[in-house]
Each structure stands twice: as C-alpha cells, then as structure tokens.
Symmetry: D3
Subunit: 224 residues, 6 copies
C-alpha cells in the first residue's frame, strides 16, 4: 500500500544508476547555494520549485516555516541554521511560505487548535504577524487577510533570523543574503519580499538581473 | 549568481504550466501518505528517493533527522508531528538517516563543535545512540562505527517518536506504521529497520510485498 | 501529635542498637541491587513489598511513578537515574505502579486538577498512556480502564527510561534489566510486565526461576 | 539473582496475609501524617527510621533530598508537594538528609561529576549551601565541612519549600509544620533543625514533648 | 512631542556642565551602596525617594518588583543580582514595593490579565503572596487586602532573594543586609519590614540609629 | 551607615511635602510618555538625564539594558514590555546604553565571567552584537571596539523589541516610536540611532524638531 516504499525500490533500481556520477561526486561533501526554509506541507516540492539538483539546497522544513528567534534554548531550527550558516557558510537563506497553509490557518484561529496544543504553542512564533493582521487588516476579506498573514509571517521569520548571531555577523560582513518568498500552490507563482519597498513583488521582477546573468552563463546547458 | 532564483523563474514559466492540473487539484487540500523526517543535508532529494509527486509526503527536515522525545516543551518537530499524525492522520512515518552525515560526524566528536554550541546541544538528542556506539563498537573501524551510529540514531529517534501521545495512540490502534531508513548517498541504496530482528535489511527485502502489490495495481501507470 | 517524631526517637533508642552491625557495614558505602521507582503514595512500603534490608534498593518516589524522557533539561528523576545507573552501576530498575493511585485517577480526569496546576502538568508525562486508554478502552468499565491505565503508564515510563543515555548504553551492553510492576494494595499481589507477550503476568510466574534459585542458595537464612 | 524479585513473591505469599486487614482498610484511601522528603540512598529505610506503618508517610525521594524552589516550571518534586499539601492536606513535612551522602559529596566537588552532567545540574539546587560552606567553613576539617553542608542543604531546601504557594499559604494559616532532619547512618541518630536557635539538636531534645504525649496516649499499643 | 527628548538635550547643555566634576570622578568606576529593586511604575523616582546622587544605587526595575528564586534558568534579575552582589560586592539590597501598583492589582485578579499572558505568568512569582492574602485576608476590605499583598509580596521576594547563592553566602558571612520597603505614593511615606516582629514599621522608627549617625557625621554637608 | 536609609527619612520629612500636589495627582494613575529601558549601572540617573518628573517614564533596568527576543518563555523584560505597550499604551520606547558599561565589558570577554555564570548567560542576548564587533572591528582600538559594541548592542536590542507581538502591532499601526541611545557618562552627551542612515548621531541633531516645538509650547515653564 505505501507507494513511497515501492518508490524507493524503483529509485535504487532504475533512477539512481543514471545519476551515479553526480552522487559519487556529492559523496565527497556538500556545498549548497542556499539554506531553504519552508513549510512541511506535502504540496511543496523544493527541488521542483527551484529547479535544483541534489547538493544545491540545504533544507529545513516544519509546519509554518517558522524560525524561532535566537535564545539560549536550542531547537532544531536554531541548530540547523547555525550549522548551515557558521559551518557550511551557505551564502543565501530563503524563507518560503505558501498559500493554502494549514499552519497559518490555525494561527489565525487558535480556538480550532484546542486538541493540538503543541501546534498552537509553535504558532506562537507567528503571533506578532497575526496581531498585525488582526489590527491592520480588520476590514479585509478573509482571503486578503490570509494573504497578508502569509507575507507578514515571512517578514517576521526573516526578522527572527537576524537575531541569530551566526546570521547577524555574516549580514554585517555582507556575504549573506536573505530572501522571503510566498509560493502560490494553485497558480505556481512565487512572490519575493522587497525590503526597500516593504512589499512583495513577483520573482521575475525581483530576480531579473540574476535570471539574465544565469541565462548568459548557462546558455547551452539544461540543469535538470 | 543564485541559481535557485533563476530556477524559480524557470519553474513558474516553463515547468508549472505542464503540471497545472495536478496543482489545481492539490490546492483543494493535502492527504499525504507519509510523514517523512530526514536530514537537512542538500544531497537528499526526498521526491527523487521516494519517486513521489507533490502531495504525497509531509516533510520535516533538520540537521541529523532528530525527533526530540515528547515533553511539555514545544519545538518544531513536536508540533509538526502532532499536526501530521493527529490532524492530517497520516498513516506512515519514515525517519530517514543517511551516509556522510555531517551532523552524525559531529555527534561522534562533540569537541569539534566548540564553535557550534546549538548544534552540539541539538545532537544531545542522539546521545544515547553515541553512547551505545562508543561502548559496543569500540573495536570497529571508524567507518563501521559511523554506520552503527547512523542505524542506532534512527532506532533511537523511532523510540522518541513513540513517546509522543498522538503517535502512541495510533500505534495502539494499529493504523500507523513506523519506518526507519538509512540512505546511502554514494550507492543509492536504502536499508530499512526490521524491528523483529533488530537489524537493518535492504528495502527490496523489507518491502517485497508492497512492491509486488504496487506493481500489480499500477501496472500501466508512470507515476513521475 | 506527630507519631513519626516519637517513632524516630524510638528507632534510635530501641531499634538501631539491634542492627548496629549492619549499619556499620553500610556506612562504608552502598551497592544496591535495584533502582526502585515508585509512587509517593503512603500505602507503598518498599522494604516490606520487596522484603529487602537497608542497602538493597536505591529508591526514587514521586506522584505517579513518572520517568520523564531524557532531554537537556535536568530534573530529579533524570539526575537520580543517571546517578544510579552510571555511577552506582545498579543492575536492575523496577518501575512500580499501584492500584488506587490518586495521581493516575487525576491523569484520567484532568478537569479535576484545576487547582493543582503542577500535578496536571507533571501528569502530562502519562499523556500517551491516557490517550491509549481513552481510545482503546472506551468500552471498558471504569475499573478496567483504570487497570489498563496503570499498566500502560508503567509501559510508557519504561519506554521513557530507555531514552536516557546511561540506560540505553547498559541495555545495549546487556548488564541492565528493566522490570515493570503493578502492585495491588488491596490484594497484596504484584503483576509484572512481560515484554515478549506485551502483557502483565503474576510475579510468581515471571520470576519462577529467580525464586527457585534464591530458595536454593539461601535455604537456611532469614533475610528480614 | 535479583533478591527483590524473590522477595516480592515471598511478600505476597507470606507477609501480606498477616496484614490483610490493614491493607483492606488502606485501600479505602490514604491520610498520611507527613510528607517525607529524603535521599534515594539505599541505606535509608523510611519506615524503619520513623517506625511507621503503611499509610503514614507520603514519600518523595531523589538524589540529595532536593526541593527546587517554586517557579512556573513543573518537576516531580513541585508536583508531588502540591499534591501532598494542597490535595491531601498533610500537616507535616520532613526534609531528611543523611551522612555519607554521595550526592552531597558530589556537590562539594563538581569536578568529579564531569561524566554525570544531570547530577551536576541537579545539585545546582544545593549551590547556596555549598557556597556558604566554602566561605564560612574553610578552616574546618573535611568531615566538619561535610556535616556543615548536610545541615545547610536541609536548611536551604526548607527555604525552597517555603516558596511554594501551597506551602506558604498553609504556613500562614498555621496548620502545617516543617521539620529539617539529618540522619546519621553509622550511629543511628537523627538531629533536627531548631529554627529559633538556627542550629541542629538531637530529636530526643526537640521532640521531648511529642514523645511524652505519644507515650501517654499509646501506652499499651505496639505500633509496628 | 516627546518631552524626554527635549529633556535630554537640555540635560547635556544646561545640567551636566554643573555636575561635570562628579561625573568625571564616576567615569572611573562605580561602588554603589545598595542594589535597589523596585517596580517600573513611572511614579517612583528612585533618586528622589532615597535622596541619593548618581553612583549610589545600582537599580533593577521590573513590573511588580519581582525577584525570581534562584534556578538554573537565567533571567535579567538573576544575572543583575549576581553582578551586584558577587562582582560589585554591594553591602545592601532594598526591595521596594509601592501603593497603587498595577502589577499587584493584576496579581490579585488574574482574570483581568487574559490579554497580557506574559504579565500573568510573571506575576506567578507573587503567587504565594496572593494565596496568603486570599486565605488569611478574606474578611478584610479590598484596600486592606491590597496593603497586605504589597507587604506579603515584598516578604516573598526577600525570601526568593535568599535562595540566590551569591546572596546566601554573603548573608552567612554577615556583610550583606536586606531591606523590604513599601512606598506610599500618595502620602510620601515608606514603611520597612522588621524581620524580628514580622511586621512593617515606619522608616523613621526602623532607621532611627542610621539617621542619628548620619546626621552627626554629615552635619554640615548637603548631599543633594 | 546606609546613606539611602537616612535619605528616605529626609525625603518623607522634607522633600515630599513640597511635591504633595503632584503626588496626589499621580496617585490617581500613571500615563507615562515613554518606556525607558536602561542599564542598572548606578551612574545613570534616569530622571536627571531626561529632565523628567515622576509619572513621565515607565522604567526597566537590568545589567546591560538587554531585551530578550519574544518567545513563549516569560521573564521580567517580556512581561514589563507587554504591560507598558499593551496595557499602558505608552507611545515611545527608549533603549539607553552607556559608556563604561561593566556588562558590555564582560560581554566582550566572557572568560572573565567564569564565576558569574548567570551574567555570562544573560549577556548571551548580546552575542550577535559581540560577534559583529569581533568580525568587523578587529582592526579597531579597544576603545573603538567598545564604542562599536555599545551601539551594536542597542541596535540588536531594538531588533529584539520588534519581535514582541505588542510592539510589532503598534509599530504596524504607526502609534509607537522606538529610540536607541548611548549615554556618555564622562561627557554627559547622548547619541541616538538614526535608522535611515544606520548610524548614531547627536541628540541635538536627531531631536532638533522636538526641541524647537517643546521650546515654543513650554516657553515660560520650568519643568523640574
Ligand atoms: Zn504550510
Ligand atoms: Zn545529515
Ligand atoms: Zn500513586
Ligand atoms: Zn544521599
Ligand atoms: Zn508597581
Ligand atoms: Zn551598564
């Protein structure tokens, strides 16, 4: 019955042999381009969205794409961020929220989480975003409120990220760049946070330069 | 320079349109087959290893594929497990470790983590596995010790998983199944834990029945 | 009025002199046979139930005979277990629940604990056992549910015990044995957990071999 | 080999039948005279020292007879104290330290606890007592320092006890009495803390009145 | 609009020049006479109440003049007390409560703090004082209850203070003195706790000796 | 000997009577203009620096003028901020560091804090600022490094402040303003953070408009 179990057998028999060379090279070590933090939601396939190969993204996933602020308490996110930023010295961090997010729906309505006490407490890390939406977005439609929350949550988690010493020092040094994304599951589009304007804009717009440059240097290659 | 930024533009322009129907359907909700817990390591591409489509795996990733035992303290793993098991009622949980794991290398030699205090503390959740390897594997080669640790860590995290109330109740009820895997990056193979014998065996062996059944029911389909 | 105060005077004047030799020997150090974890309930007299002398049981007692799972947080149980298992190298651990347990009654009905917030939170460590009873035992009588909870709680605390590194390493080495008991206050009987069958059986049955062996070696002695 | 296993069989076959009446009565409920907090040390047999029967002492035992001060964090001691004082309304609390205490030896020399991190942290609750001994007792012999520590630790844990709301309110009301004891394993004597003088005196001296009263009322009975 | 912003400009242009000598001397280091712990309430001006100059009081202020008891957890109060007592070796500590205290009003009626979850939790450190008032003061007028709470809270925080190792050791050594005050905002009077009698008395009464001595030695000076 | 004790007697006899009217008015309630967060250092007299009267500043003071980021854990700062911002609705928050700060000196050299474990842990909240100074200021003189740390610490604590939900929502609404100051004890000057340029400038410069406005409206008054 579990399809993924049959899948892994298929993978090792049919898929891996074709990629053997890549994996042999990767077994020497990883030097990913980005720490990619996103929701656990099953509809997000990180490799597909970013069109990356194994070895390119160091990935952290939890319900709600939450990043607790830095404190003396250690959790999985704090440790994984420290590993990615201070040990692997990854040059980019992406926090990627998404539409239809069950965690964010719960954050807006904690009453519905009565039987999920840990989810409720974990979503406390989105509390400042929820408070802003309830205060500033009270005249919006539920859909617009949810969109506002997705964006505010990404902005808040970026702010939390900046309280981590390993992140702060590299931001000061100028060799780390933060990205805040919202992925629309239904439309397949991604919007990115533009700190200068304080608003989200399409990735085509935000990354125009990167796309152009990448197109030039990789003109003849197919990277997937 | 960030390839993933160019990738996401490419995704929304060229890849998504072909999958539009799937994503439209997915935007109605998710009912994944498994909660898949694995390391953040960039060389693990969950969709590729399991040959699954978007919508099939609810994914949690952190450095070392750690599952803290259940306590009153809430962290990302505790909350995400509760969400997956008690709210989404997912029928399978996989904990997937892997070879060449930087986190596990650190767990064996905490001295090398002096400048990574949070990583060190997080790997404390693997301490029982490390202690077993140091005690029982002291005559083994470093490679064999590391292999033993990868396996012991997966077994320990499975045990931690069983202390979570949402997991315990569904195990008692018999509608949840746990899987412990070790993925070999270089060879592309996956071994799975066999609780009956207390040892790891090849997935081909462990999942022979599932593969056979799946082959029959899906004879004519290509699921990727 | 406090009888125990008069008792301690009586002890030092009348009882101790007869046992002086034993205590002189014990003042050189302790090497107890078991770490005995049981409820604080006044009706459990550990020395009487186990027919042991001073020096034979290292005893931890708290409301509900709870063993929190191992985490980075330190509490009395975690510290005392570490001391008993890693420093004193005690070869047996018993977790002993009991009938008529006020703590377990509270765990089944947390509503009644409104004015006892710490008791309520502490009993959260029995939450997985309670959840199993509520799910699997919903057609049982209250008495049978309580019995099921007493047993499930002992099983859960044994599982928590196995997450402690000092315990895990000695279990792997094979020189530590765990025992799960339920003591019936009214009948004076003790049932013990049989991991092989997953059920509780009478101690006469479980320890038949030990009793026989002990009877042989100690034929002429009276150990109390 | 485990003597306690043979002992429990012996208990239920030979000892319990003689006490059946007492246990039948006790199965109706407990109303113990004291909450008795002492060390886990195997050489302390609470029933023997206090010459009490089952049903008379609600017992908490941990390494070092520690009582953490009251905070929002819940542990076994905090919960068990709340249960004993607020629910069972027990009229006396005894904190009983003892000579030859391995925990207190560790508290004086934390360097020796390098491989027992949880023990070390737990003994942090005795830190104020240790600091006083190191400062005020620096010209004493090691034996005198240890004696001083045993007493200071009991005094400190009494102070911690007073920070618990359930204890504070009943002390203010005047229906709860605290006792601080040090039990000498080798000599079989107990000294008790006299708050008025700030010193420890023999129990014969401290409880002269109770002994006299008890002797009168129970003249013809044998309570053990 | 912000008056304090205009004030600071005025301070540096007009006030500081007159005190330049004092501040030049102070820039060499501080050796304050007291650690002064009081509420954040805007109506308490510490320098005015104590008629002290810069350099004389090391000041900690939080809502409710709370001192958490010593544990392994570190907070601002625990750290600041350690710094003041162990590093600066300050000879006096004052805990100063006050009338009209919003925090204490909240502590008496936690229901009113529903939207202030952190305030509610913080005031849990006054829980033992509240419990005493509710139990012992139930026949008093609300005003008398509040007065009783202000005093009981100061007494409780003094008790918490004594659990801090740095404080305990210096109290044992006899070179640290604790003071418990309640300041009446409307009347301008201060009452101080008299440990001997367990009651609060006027400062004129409590400090009669200090005032006399100070008057003699400073007869001709004006210290403000 | 304690001058502050003589001072308080002097205050209530000689100083208060002159201010009776103000205090009578204040006893009706407080509506302070700013939440003023500064170091416990004895050389900072908040009323003098800001030329404010009682009732104008709600004051929080701790070693290092630290603001922990918002988490589920409650401490004195988190609670006091919530009280000031969400209950009192104070329109300004100032974080005021200062030269010669013992806490910041300790933060730069944690080795010197070996005997002050809580101070060391508390200063962990300044870790990101220290890391930036050690990385970016490694060629500076010690004095310039310390100055850089004072400023970076204020900036970091402002960032922590923004993670508190009560603060975030009011910033979004636009009715709360944050101020970051460094006070120079020796020179009597205050510099303020200019978020636009990312640098500190003199208060005369930053608050030119406020001073002008205030001068106009209060032309004939003396507010001290
Ligand atoms: Zn989501
Ligand atoms: Zn890994
Ligand atoms: Zn019980
Ligand atoms: Zn002991
Ligand atoms: Zn107040
Ligand atoms: Zn300072």
């Amino acid at each position: 019955m579990p399809k993924f179990a049959a899948g892994v057998v298929r993978f090792q028999q049919h898929v891996f042999p074709e990629k053997q060379e890549l994996f042999e090279r990767l077994s020497k070590g990883q030097s990913p381009e980005a720490l990619f933090i996103t929701c656990s939601d099953s509809r997000i396939e990180t490799a597909m969205i970013t069109q990356t190969d194994p070895g390119e993204l160091f990935i952290c996933r939890n319900a709600g794409n939450i990043v607790p602020p830095h404190t003396d308490n250690t959790g999985g996110m704090t440790a994984s961020i420290e590993f990615a930023v201070a040990a692997l010295r990854i040059p980019h961090i992406v926090i990627c929220g998404h539409t239809q997010c069950g965690a964010m729906t719960g954050a807006m309505d904690p009453g519905g989480l009565e039987h999920l006490p840990h989810v409720r407490k974990w979503l406390g890390y989105a509390e400042a975003a929820v408070a802003i939406v309830k205060d500033q977005g009270d005249t919006l439609t539920p859909e617009a409120q949810m969109r506002m929350l997705l964006e505010q949550n990404v902005i808040l988690q970026l702010r939390h990220l900046e309280t981590h010493p390993s992140v702060a020092v590299r931001l000061a040094r100028g060799d780390l760049r933060l990205h805040g994304w919202v992925y629309d599951i239904e439309k397949g589009t991604v919007d990115a946070y533009d700190a200068a304007s304080g608003a989200f804009r399409t990735v085509t717009d935000i990354y125009a330069a990167e796309v152009a440059q990448y197109a030039t240097t990789c003109e003849h290659g197919d990277h997937r």
